[in-house]
Each structure stands twice: as C-alpha cells, then as structure tokens.
Amino acid sequence: MQAVLWSVLKLLIVLTFILLNAMLLIWLERKVSAWIQLRLGPMRVGRPQGWAQSIADVLKLLFKEDIVPSRVDKVLFVLGPIIAFMPALMVWAVIPFGPNFVSADLNIGVLYIAAIGSIGLMSIFTGGWGSNNKWSLISAMRSAAQLFSYEVPLVLALIGVVMLAGSLSLTDIIRAQQETAWYILYQPLGFLVFLIAGIAEVNRTPFDLSEAESELVAGWHVEYSGLRWAMYFLAEYGNLLALSALAATLFLGGWTAPFGLDFIPPFVWFLLKTYLFVFVAMWIRWTFPRVRIDQLMDLSWKFLIPVALLNIALTGIGITIFS
C-alpha cells in the first residue's frame, strides 16, 4: 500500500514539475524570441519581466468556451489532446533528476524513450484526422512522414551512446559518463544527429512542418481552442523539455557536476544542462526559416542516417581499439 502511495506521490511530483516547467518554457520562449527580435516580450502581468504571463494565459484558456466544431469526429477530437499529453509525461518516468531520484530506473530506459516517442504521432493523427479539416489532414500526413524519417536517425544516434555505456539504463549511462567523460566529447557526430533529429521530433522550426503557420495555418490543432488547445501547447513544451533532459542525460552527464563543482546539488546541475538545450532549441527556432517537406526527408535519409551509421561504425572501431 505504501509503495502505491509512494508511486502516486512520485507521479504527482513529476506531473507538477512538467506542468510548471512547460509554463515556464512558454514564458521563456516569448522572452527569448523578444530579446532576439529587439522586443521586450510580455511585461505587464507580473513584474519584473511579466513572469506571470503564462499563468494568466492558462487561466484564460481554462475559462474559454469549449468549442467542438459540428462536423468533427467527436471521439477522436476529444482524445487527441489527452493522447498528446501522455508521452510527454511518460518519458519522465525514466529520466534521473539526481543520483537516487528517478521514478523508475528501467533497464531498458533508452528503448523505452524511443517507444514512447513513437506514441506522440498518434495524438497528431487523432487530432488532425478528427478535426475534419483539410489543413489538419495535410499536417497529419506531414508529421507522419516526418516522424517515420526522424525516428530512425534518433534511435541510431542513441546506439553510439548505448555502445559506450554498455547499458540501456539512463542511470548506468550517467554513471559511465561519470567514470570517463561526457559523451558529447566521444560522440560529437552522434550528438549532432541527435540534436537535429530531436528538434525535428518535437516539431520545432526549422522542422515545424506539421504546424507551419504560414502554410497550414496551424496544422493539426487548427480547430482546437481553449483548454484542449492549451493541452496541445503544454504537451509541445513538455516534449521539448523531455528532449532537452534526454540530451543532457545522454550527452552532458546528466546530474553529474563538472570540474568538481560538487557543492551545487545534482538536481540543479540537471536543470542547468536541460535548460542549456532549451535555449539552443529556441535560438535555432528564431533564427532559421522552415525547410520544405521533401528537403526534410532528404536531410534525414541522405545526411542524418548515413552520418549516424558512420558514427556507429566509428564507435565500434574505437571500442575495439581502446578496450
């Protein structure tokens, strides 16, 4: 009984953490984009720097009318945002926040994350198809093609890390990095592939083709409003956060402290590294134009996958030589 309570508590902590961070990320995205674009961003709600803007927005969206357009497939339309939230939450089960601070230290952690990532597609399907809108249909097809293509390099990029660590468990991978060095040093190619494929996986510019507001208006969530839309939005930022946490864990040593700076708690290090990736993703988003769907495919099949395979081969050779 206590175990069950403990799991529920853990789940609640993780849930709160993600929701708060997703809201923080929304605020951060607006600020970062504003600073890059010579603007100030939100300033009014909450001083300084309009920190409460996301809270106000979420509250506003909560109280908005729940609009379900008349010709939609109601079941799918309602299910879409809920399914969207699921993978964003489930990923966090295996990500270690600190040495003994992980919800479930699965020994197949990396594989689990890859599997969860593939569920995300279902939410875009249900939402995009259920909306009964031509734009969202195109968007759903686009994201299907995109996720097929980017799942492969993403998993291939992870294989290098797994080969070095000799384990699929994220905790083991961090421990292995603690003994040697951060894997970004051993796996620069793998990291590059992971970064590009990861950004494509969470649908951010320059790969936000399924959303593409200048072409598809808003893609699969064009018919959504109010709370449902907010769930899609929070899920998007939850995914970004999860990806960043994963990158920090796999390539930057997770919660381990660099340069012997042990007095800062591991949890803080983990967050710092995660947010470093968040910033990079935002910086990229507000710099580049969007690529086209066929170019996106080209990038995956003609560049990322060969490079990822090369990385695996190099890693294999390296392991054979040095061990």
């Binding site: 600073w35 890059i36 010579l38 603007r39 100030l40 300033m43 910086w283 990229i284 580049f288």
Partner: protein
C-alpha cells in the same frame, strides 16, 4: 567530395545566421512601452483638424465654406451668421471624425488661418456620437500644444 563541401557550406551559413541572432540577443530592445512612454511627434503631424482662435479666444472662421468644399469626405458642417461688428462669424463648425481621413486639405484651403492640424492621435471612443466634434471642443483643442497649420509651399 562535393557532398562534403556542400554540407560544410550549409553548416557555415547556418552558423553565420546564428551569430546574427546571438548578437541581437544582447542588443538593446527598441520597444516603446506605449501608455507610459510616448512617441515624440514632429511638428506638423496630422492628427485631425482643429479651430484656431484669435487673441480674444474667438474663432477666426468666417464660415466661408472653402474647407467644406475642399474636404474629400464631406465631414465638415459649417453654419455662420452676421456677428456684432457686422462681419460673418461661424456659429457652428462640426467635424465628423468617423469619416475624416486627415488629409490636411481643409487647412490648406482656409484663407483666414482659422484651421490647423492637432497632433492628437488617441481618438477612440465608445459612442459614435462622441466622434462629432463641435466648435467649442475644436476651439479648445486648437489652443493646446502640438497644433500646426502647414499649407502648400510652406517650409517646415
């Protein structure tokens, strides 16, 4: 080989782009926080026409109707009567701001220096009737700052 060179070129241009945004990231923002901070308007900014008054505070308008004829959108209504000194004086001068396109043609048409452009720009109001500015309002606004009458051939 050309594949590698192509990739290198792509990466190079992308890095150049990232450098631009990084530099601007740390440059000063140019946003004006509007209600608190305000734009400094140049002399001759065309807000909307107002009436100028003479030393005694009375209107210079003689209700000659030149402005009415010059106005492309027919927003000016003028009525005049003989004043105490026998000269014609405007008794009613109404501006319909809901249709005014702020083109300055009425100011240019006026031969009695009775009209000028105010630099007011916050013209929103809740009721349509409030957009009808009568003579007293326009005279009062004409006494404020930022009023200028610029006509054809003027130097600024």
């Amino acid at each position: 080989m050309s594949y590698v060179r192509n990739v290198a070129n792509v990466v190079a241009t992308l890095l150049v782009g990232l450098r631009v945004t990084l530099r601007e990231w740390f440059s000063r923002s140019i946003t004006l926080q509007y209600p608190e901070q305000r734009w400094e308007l140049p002399r001759g900014y065309r807000g909307h026409p107002v009436l100028l008054s003479d030393e005694e505070g009375k209107t210079k308008c003689t209700a000659c109707g030149l402005c009415v004829r010059a106005c492309p959108t027919d927003v000016i209504t003028v009525k005049g009567a003989k004043g105490e000194d026998g000269k014609r004086v405007a008794t009613e001068w109404v501006l319909d701001m809901s249709r005014c396109i702020q083109c300055n043609l009425c100011v240019e048409a006026c031969k009695f220096d009775a009209l000028a452009m105010s630099d007011r720009y916050e013209l929103a109001c809740y009721r349509r009737e409030d957009l009808l500015y009568d003579m007293d309002t326009l005279l009062e606004l004409g006494r404020g700052d930022g009023v200028a009458a610029i006509t054809v051939g003027d130097k600024l």
